[in-house]
Symmetry: C2
């Protein structure tokens, strides 16, 4: 039994080829070093070797909770899916909210490791600490929503209450490289293609029956102090305050009007920095306000459900009746998110609010990442405009009706265009010769913050271990919201250091695993109290920061061993200061590009990395003892041995 | 081991005469029937027989937590002190907030029963499930604050963190009949003289060292649903919403301006229904606004601490510098409560804000109930005005400077006047012949809601099992705040039924034990979810309401066996419609009195009682199987056998 509170000390390990289920405990040293969820998940994926083929049976898919999961810590219902990404070739972790993480813990497990591949479609049932593998042939080929209904009914006789179903749709079944895993209808582990790996393994779903094993804090006094303090700061924050704060009122989509106003909203595949600039330049009828959180709340909001132990309720459930190809469509879904709206809307050249709802719902049903598929279609529109897609058929800017159907075509890969786009921006660029059209870093496309406006996002996208990502180092907290203090978004200096700090902080919360939105209010002080409270340990702020840094370095080290280095820490050409294909920002971001190289130098210095590679000294310093070392010395400045 | 979640199944029972400590479990049937805290406490006090002398060693003093205590249920830090009251001769329960209840549970105990009397002053230390009796001679005679500092330091090496000290001051030591037990400097089990009983037993303090035994819910799914729902309704309530609601902004004292405006604030020993009416009638300079929550917040607020697991933070910590008899006094304390302000201020004929802070702090240090001592002094002022106190010395209306010192004199009983007033209004009235001056019911004085304005409070005061009390059936929720729906405060009809419903609902929350302030937002639905979640039981709303009714009837039955019946369900003469000494209300309550008899009839009918007595049929119906029965039949209408 581990000495740590917050754990069940039981991780299921499933050999899908053999259909064997075994169980392992959590090593105390691992728990100390890598905390849980994201950190432990990366450690477990590392065990299979960073050189594995992400598409092959030797790739591992980990479902991991952390020490705070399923406790009453605020926003603690989450779970991390960790694997080697078939989209980026990096290690990736992608989390989702709802209740599945909490329920897995209550059911008596800390995590599930999927190894090998099943010959036939299967699904897993977790109940009372055990995992059972069942035949899934009757739901193979079905969408996520039908799968969840069918399996929820089958296992628990109900849907939603007491049971979580994490399922893939047609996207994961058909090897779409950005297929996601969807939980409870609309919560997705969206990024990096975890659903693709699950599909490769012929696993349709993981069904978790809730149980009675709620972890009690080892030190209630400290835990409660941390809980109370976190509730307090959440209540006092203009962003998170329940019923009052922007996130609570409008969900993530509170950002739409803000970034539009700042000229920080990538539009028309990142050609423009706002819909206003697009409209001014090309005379099209487009306006981000039509798809903003405010507009959604005013017109189509029907409910505001929450995840486990969350007072904020950022989920904005909407209902729309809209015409699609002459047919009336009625859709109700709970995730009109900012990122989805950006990628499927402005960045694809339109602001048809209700069509976006239809598209998000479609994405959740076929199981593909809304950001990736939206940006993929935006890239395709641009390529089409330039005649690069002539062999695959036309795709007009902002043709939202066609987009709805194209999402399904991508997931099923039934059309040539769908099959092509299922491969992701990087491979499409390779195949068709369109590298200037892609908005991706390490194969993963950017989210909804323009790095010509928020320079911190530029370095964060470039250095994110899982490809372009806002959630690995959320600098807009400082650049837009002034948390912990306001910094000038257009200033590049200091952003390397800021990004590293945010990255380490988020590595902690992702390893706990609590929602990133806590970071608008909570900080290291609340993290330490809650972590010490639940585990019974007595770590300092420095200790915990070091653990966050260790997790971040472990991922980077994995990537180095997988063949990535500083060359891969880059940005799409159109954002790059000094690049011949650069497209400067407009409006409030007039003339702006992203000073990546300057920031990279600062960032690497902060990190103690050598051209994007973790030197052996850093591995020693952080006591990372998996793998052979990168062979790079901090003094040498040499390229990594395996590069 | 009990089958119930939320319990440690361990109650310490201390024979103070022998210095023996033993432990008992909690009977499952008792837990089902009486829930916990208040309900179980009454059951345990009942074991000693309702005829015991409250001043004698055979009286039991129970410190009881409930199934929700110390969990993360909102406002669940409370503990009930239950005993036979030396003030009222009834069974009484008096709760306090802070962290002592939670800490007792975390230390591995559900409760402590004090029996007998120690020969020498002692204090108890609770640590890791055990109770140790230690010598307290070095703190005997000390005030509460010094005692808490000394014992906290002695036991834990610190004050506040990880340790709760529940102590009596000089009031409890010297047999003041309304002496209280104070926890963590400023949280008091104020009413009914629990501190007097503790003093009689020569117990100076109970020190609880926190532990690691936080109860986990037996059914996390249901518990979390209840928790989430309760957080939601608390956040949505205009009263409780953190940082927004009236209670959160101004504390309990949000009511001062409201009742003043309604002419529902008993003033000058209840002669007037507002300070405005007093000023108009007698030309004095008095204004409730000066002591209102708004005024306090604006001028002297320094902090807003919370109790365990509370998002509301109704505590309003203040700091005042004020002159007292030529000496500068600097006081910081965290309980500028509405009830204290009423009794020590307007009802005593003044609105000196800072002097009230001084008085409250003094009360908390010497350990006397602020409501009782304030009203006692108000009664004395009226008696003095009428020449009835000539043998004891003068006391002028509103002489706040003298009041400060008189509080200490009462606690020490060093002066004749102090010694007299220490006996409580009923005994003073008996001794001096002043029954028309007292504002008490069953020996306990009224709190700050005038029953000429809020008729529901009239029937609630009259029928409260522990003497006049607003917290046994808080009808102002409906009469002022419109919760669950607004009712006309001046209308008597329906108030008997309303009061019975509130009484049963509060008996549930007091038995949980969670703060009454939840009731501004939560209702039976949230109670059932949280109760079922923590215990793993599956009770219905009706089941739980029945348990609340059972607790209320058990108390009434105790009182019946102790000799009380419908005659004791009365009100001070000046409020009584039809009484020759009645004083009608003024201003907005012009001409109003309280229609007690009409409401009593309705109330008894709702209750199924016979002239205030629980008939044997009702005991059977509620399955109350302690004691011999009252010998009263529902059909007979006869007086109880022992009356």
């Amino acid at each position: 039994m581990t000495e740590f509170g917050g754990y069940r000390d039981r991780v299921a390990q499933i050999d899908l080829g053999e259909g064997d289920v075994s169980y392992r405990g959590i090593d105390d040293e691992d728990a100390k070093k890598y905390i849980g969820a994201r950190g432990l998940g990366v450690k477990y994926v590392f065990e299979k070797g960073p050189e594995v083929d992400p598409d092959g049976p030797e790739n591992r898919l980990a479902f991991m909770t952390g020490p705070l999961t399923g406790t009453q810590a605020v926003m603690s219902g989450r779970i991390a899916l960790v694997t080697k990404s078939p989209l980026t070739g990096t290690v990736t972790d992608s989390h989702h909210g709802g209740w599945s993480g909490a329920r897995l813990k209550w059911a008596g497990l800390d995590g599930i490791l999927l190894d090998g591949e099943s010959d036939e479609p299967v699904y897993l049932v977790v109940e009372d600490g055990d995992v059972e593998v069942r035949d899934a042939s009757h739901v193979w080929g079905k969408g996520v929503h039908e799968t969840i209904d069918t399996l929820g009914e089958e296992v628990e006789g109900t849907v939603g209450r007491n049971v979580s179903v994490m399922a893939i749709g047609q996207g994961g079944e058909n090897g779409v490289r950005y297929a996601c895993v969807v939980n409870e209808d609309d919560r997705a582990s969206g990024r990096g293609g975890t659903g693709c790996v699950m599909g490769n393994k012929n696993v349709k779903a993981v069904v978790v029956k809730s149980g009675t094993n709620m972890p009690a804090p080892a030190d209630p006094e400290t835990f409660q102090e941390g809980h109370q303090q976190s509730m307090q700061v959440i209540q006092e924050s203009d962003v998170t305050a329940p019923n009052e704060g922007g996130l609570s009122q409008y969900g993530t989509n509170v950002l739409m009007n803000i970034t539009e106003e700042m000229d920080g909203l990538p539009t028309k595949n990142g050609k423009y920095t706002s819909t206003r600039s697009y409209e001014d330049a090309e005379g099209v009828d487009i306006d981000a306000e039509r798809v903003s959180g405010e507009n959604v709340r005013e017109n189509i909001l029907v409910d505001e459900p929450t995840c486990h132990s969350c007072p904020v309720a950022c989920k904005k459930e909407v209902e729309v009746q809209t015409m699609h190809k002459g047919e009336e469509m009625n859709v109700r879904m709970e995730s009109y998110e900012y990122e989805s709206a950006f990628a499927l809307g402005p960045n694809s050249g339109h602001t048809e609010r209700d069509d976006i709802a239809l598209m998000i719902d479609r994405c959740n049903d076929v199981g593909v990442d809304t950001i990736e598929v939206g940006n993929m279609m935006a890239m395709a529109m641009e390529m089409s405009e330039q005649g690069k897609l002539d062999d695959y058929g036309d795709l007009e800017w902002g043709d939202s009706e066609t987009m709805v159907d194209l999402i399904t075509e991508i997931a099923t890969r039934e059309t040539e265009l769908g099959d092509l786009l299922a491969k992701g921006t990087e491979r499409v660029a390779d195949e068709v010769g369109a590298h200037d059209n892609k908005l991706s870093v390490k194969g993963q496309t950017i989210p909804a913050y323009d790095p010509r406006c928020m320079k911190g996002m530029g370095i964060a996208y470039a250095t994110s271990n899982r490809g372009a990502c806002h959630l690995r180092g959320y600098t807009p907290a400082a650049e837009i919201l002034g948390i912990p203090e306001k910094v000038d978004p257009y200033e590049w200096e200091g952003k390397g250091e800021l990004t590293a700090t945010f990255q380490d902080l988020h590595a902690i919360s992702d390893s706990f695993d609590i929602c990133k939105f806590n970071a608008f209010a909570e900080g290291i002080e609340e993290y330490v109290l809650q972590y010490n409270g639940i585990t019974g340990r007595d770590v300092s702020e420095d200790d915990l920061f070091a653990a966050g840094e260790r997790v971040y370095n472990l991922e980077r080290y994995y990537n180095n061993l997988a063949g990535l280095d500083g060359e891969d820490d880059t940005l799409p050409n159109r954002f790059l200061d000094g690049h011949p294909d650069a497209v400067p920002g407009q409006g409030a971001s007039e003339g702006e590009l992203c000073e990546l190289e300057e920031m990279k130098a600062e960032y690497y210095e902060t990190r103690g990395w050598v051209d994007g590679v973790v030197p052996d000294e850093k591995l020693d310093e952080l006591d990372i003892d998996v793998g052979p070392g990168t062979g790079v010395s901090a003094g040498s400045g040499a390229a990594p041995a395996d590069d």
